[in-house]
């Protein structure tokens, strides 16, 4: 069996990314859509850390910045979800159409 190289990690991350995209495009529950976005960000992090083994620690520093972004995004997204739930009593994305003409 081939030794585990960078490509193995990249393929894992790509599969995780595609799973996250499927979740974002097909689910109706906003909470699960946000969790799928976390999956996508994690796939990116895995790529960055895998590359940091070839080209130095910059990838790991950037992965920490991506985690910071994920925390900010989750806090604001869930805040919006709570505000919306208070108004419309629903958590489905396709019923979030107040701005749709």
């Amino acid at each position: 069996m081939a030794p585990i190289g960078t490509l193995h990690y990249l393929v894992t991350a790509a599969s995780l990314f595609v799973l996250g995209v499927i979740g974002v495009l097909t689910r109706r529950n906003v909470v699960i859509v946000l969790m799928s976005i976390e999956l996508i960000l994690n796939a990116v992090n895995l790529n960055l850390v895998a590359f940091s083994r070839i080209w130095g620690l910059h990838g790991q520093v950037f992965a920490i910045f991506v985690i910071t972004d994920a925390a900010a995004e989750a806090a604001v997204g869930l805040g919006i979800l709570i505000a919306f739930f208070r108004n419309r009593e629903t958590v489905n994305v396709d019923e979030v159409d107040l701005l749709k003409w």
Binding site: T6, Y9, M35, F65, I67, A71, A72
Partner: protein
């Protein structure tokens, strides 16, 4: 220290990550999705350890599995409806969505097949004993400005979340 059974641990951890990813996007109950996501994040922390990134692995466990997922679980408790579990879980364009995601996957496969020799199998073996120290030096040296911007971003996110979740704006 030379790693042992790298192949086994890689396939075990990445299989766990992908399996929990599938569970996240297929479960009806959001609490089950959140628990599956926590498992996936922990398995991914193991992958980071295999890549000689102990600091990122620790941050992953503390911040993601400990912080962000608790936030998710709290919000699920706040907005969880019995009704929403009886409704249709997938929206009307789910077929188009899966086709688009499959196209993206084919693109990834093509890129990685054409460019496989861009990613060398031989990897440098960085020292993990001073990994945290080196990341700290880079964060406070070369990436000082980005670090400050990140703290500003977190401040904005705190204010935004509090304002959004307030009863009367």
């Amino acid at each position: 220290m030379q790693p042992v059974a790298t192949t086994f641990f890689f396939y075990f951890l990445s299989g766990l990550t992908l399996a929990s990813g599938v569970l996240v996007i297929t479960r009806k109950n959001p609490v089950h999705s959140a628990l599956a996501l926590i498992f996936g994040l922990l398995a991914q922390a193991g992958l980071y350890l295999m890549l000689y990134a102990p600091f990122v692995a620790g941050v992953q466990i503390i911040l993601y599995a400990g912080g962000i997922m608790v936030l998710f679980l709290f919000v699920i408790m706040l907005v969880n409806l019995e009704r929403s579990q009886k409704e249709e879980q997938f929206n009307k364009q789910w077929l188009v969505g899966i086709v688009a995601a499959a196209a993206l996957g084919v693109l990834f496969v093509l890129v990685y097949m054409k460019g496989a020799d861009l990613f060398p199998v031989r990897m440098t073996l960085p020292t993990e004993s001073n990994n945290t120290q080196e990341i700290g030096v880079m964060l406070y040296g070369q990436y000082m400005f980005a670090f400050e911007i990140a703290s500003l971003l977190l401040l904005v996110a705190i204010i935004g979340a509090v304002v959004m979740a307030k009863k009367r704006i």
